[in-house]
Symmetry: C2
Subunit: 347 residues, 2 copies
DNA sequence: TCTTAGCACTCATTTCGTTCAAGTGCTAAT
DNA sequence: ATTAGCACTTGAACGAAATGAGTGCTAAGA
């Protein structure tokens, strides 16, 4: 069967109506309210066709139709026209991003928070996988009389740090020695390499100088292996009022996704076609996600992934608006990341 | 009416039964299963009395009784006997706390995570209010060619840090000057004092040396004012299966508490009688909390508050077990915090 | 050949009465 | 003071009937 223009128009109308009401859409509604000059009967025939083609679904025989994931996919890819952000909206986003957030993890969290407020869905954010990063610099900083802070600057610009409390005061010059030695040994090395091979060796070398190297190296190891890919979710609250979550079963499923985070992590890690990825309903094969859509935007610096932001909301999502929003924000952040990087340096 | 021993025994039995089943408890159940040598009719009379005294409630005329908040309060304060942790359980907790987590925020999060796993309820954690802290030390650390990390050690041992990306490379000796100057000016000063008064002055003084002082001071300000009292919630998932959350209305209320966090923040901040505080149901006057109990434990170093951990669960909570657990964990952490502080320093 | 009016049919939802069982409160006997 | 006995209350479960939204199909009209 051919997907002619009338079918597209009808599908579009159904999606728009369904997005607004979350109720199955009847033929008469489309016939009367959407300016298509056909009788309900004709619409009905077309709806039957669209269902046969997999773009619509029918909850039960005597109900209206709702868009299937395939229907939404078609809509997103071929039918809808993205609604550009107004200048006002853009200015808003720009303004929020003005402030100097240099610590990347914070930037990504902040961005995700903005996103959830902007879209009124829940937002998700995840740091990068650091395994393949290399060490650009290590610094040990003495704090007070008994604390040492380890700071690692990675080649993707991300800074990781942690504080170790020592048993006794460490002389300043010991710190200096550690510092030099660690940099000498570890600079340029891969995170994974370091914790797989070299640790024990260094520990032995430095143990004679100061036994406090032991907890220090433990913490260093911890810093290197620590999952940076923690998933942050924000704005869950936005979704709680959705009619699709009124059934406590769906709500449970949703909370399960949000709480366990494994599924989200999995999704955010993959992503194949460019920065922006859209997963509509059962496209992901995670059953719990079948009523939800996730849209992600991957951030990178010089081709190195540094994190991902995104939103999760009902399949019945305002794609026309949400997609441009996430794109704009994603690009704005991208620019902000690259800004000081090397390019213009203008503020 | 007098609260005699038999009444207490019956109340105890009812609470125990209700805690196990989450169903209204009938007189016959108590009479047969709880070794009280009375007939259902007698129990029934006593139940009526207990209700009159406010310790029990009746969902509707022909139902059994459930304990009221007042009933639970009496039970917790005067009736139940805390069930001491087994040696095994204590060892378990000790073992988990072994690892060297020096950054306080992480320690408190970790502790709350343990708590949620130990109790099977949701756990909450909150950092301290830093407003009244004083600066013990400030360090600026140069990272790479264009980044500066600001590190502040507060008098309660908490370390705060942030990274600023600069417009151009800052010479090592400028950093040194900043460092000395900031320490000279700010050491011993109160967080609030600093951001209220002195900032602008310093900025002027140092602007001539290097204009990058501007974003630096902005970030410093941000570090000082930043709400450290963020509330972390963990293990929400544990509660989702509870029968009391089967009604989507209660679930919504619960999620609202968890998401907005204001209520929790409020509670965690107050707390009047010692480290441990127990809020049972409507004792808090937050209506959404009326079906829940929150137990908190306040952590401090040398009388300075450094954070709070706690749990949130159904009113029908296993108090006998939970309270000793939270006490033990709280004290263990307390010890861990104080450990390196100045006392013995033994590992 | 495409469109549509008309109508029978399906099925979720609502409503209402009935039954059922759990559990109480009260009275009277012990 | 305790308790057996019994009437009474009430939520929950079940089923039948009514309701109504919306479809699918047929046959007539453009």
């Amino acid at each position: 069967m051919l997907l002619d223009d009338r079918k597209r128009k009808i599908l579009e109308a159904i999606i728009e109506e369904y997005n607004a009401t979350a109720e199955p859409v009847s033929s008469s509604k489309i016939a009367t309210d959407y300016g298509l000059d056909y009788s309900p009967a004709t619409i009905r025939n077309e709806m039957a066709n669209l269902e046969e083609m997999g773009y619509l679904e029918q909850p039960h025989t005597s109900a209206g139709r709702i868009p299937s994931s395939k229907g939404y996919r078609l809509y997103v890819d071929n039918i809808m026209k993205e609604k550009n952000l107004t200048i006002k909206e853009k200015e808003n986003i720009d303004a929020i991003l003005q402030s100097d957030i240099a610590k990347f993890e914070n930037l990504i969290k902040e961005a995700s928070n903005i996103l959830s407020r902007l879209t009124n869905y829940a937002s998700i954010a995840m740091g990068p996988d650091m395994e393949s990063c290399t060490v650009e610099e290590i610094k040990l900083v003495k704090l007070g009389h008994d604390k040492l802070m380890i700071v690692i600057l990675a080649d993707n610009g991300i800074v990781k740090e942690s504080v170790v409390k020592c048993q006794e005061e460490i002389p300043e010059d010991n710190v200096e020695i550690f510092n030099r030695y660690l940099n000498y040994k570890l600079r340029g090395m891969n995170f994974r390499e370091i914790y797989e091979n070299i640790n024990e060796y260094i520990e032995k070398e430095l143990y004679q100088i100061n036994t406090n190297i032991v907890p220090l190296m433990m913490e260093l190891n911890h810093l290197l292996t620590e999952q940076n890919s923690n998933v942050y979710v924000d704005g869950t609250k936005n979704l709680l009022d959705l009619p699709e979550l009124k059934k406590s079963e769906t709500l449970q499923k949703f909370l399960n996704i949000i709480e366990t985070k494994d599924v989200i992590k999995e999704l955010l890690k993959n992503g194949y076609d460019g920065n922006i990825n859209i997963y509509i309903g059962q496209e992901t094969s995670f059953d719990d996600l079948k009523d939800f859509t996730i849209i992600t935007y991957k951030q990178s610096i010089h081709d190195k992934e540094v994190g991902t932001i995104g939103i999760i909301g009902p399949k019945r999502m305002d794609y026309k608006k949400v997609i441009p929003t996430i794109k704009y924000l994603g690009e704005a952040i991208q620019q902000k990341i690259n800004q000081g990087g090397e390019a213009d340096g203008r503020k």
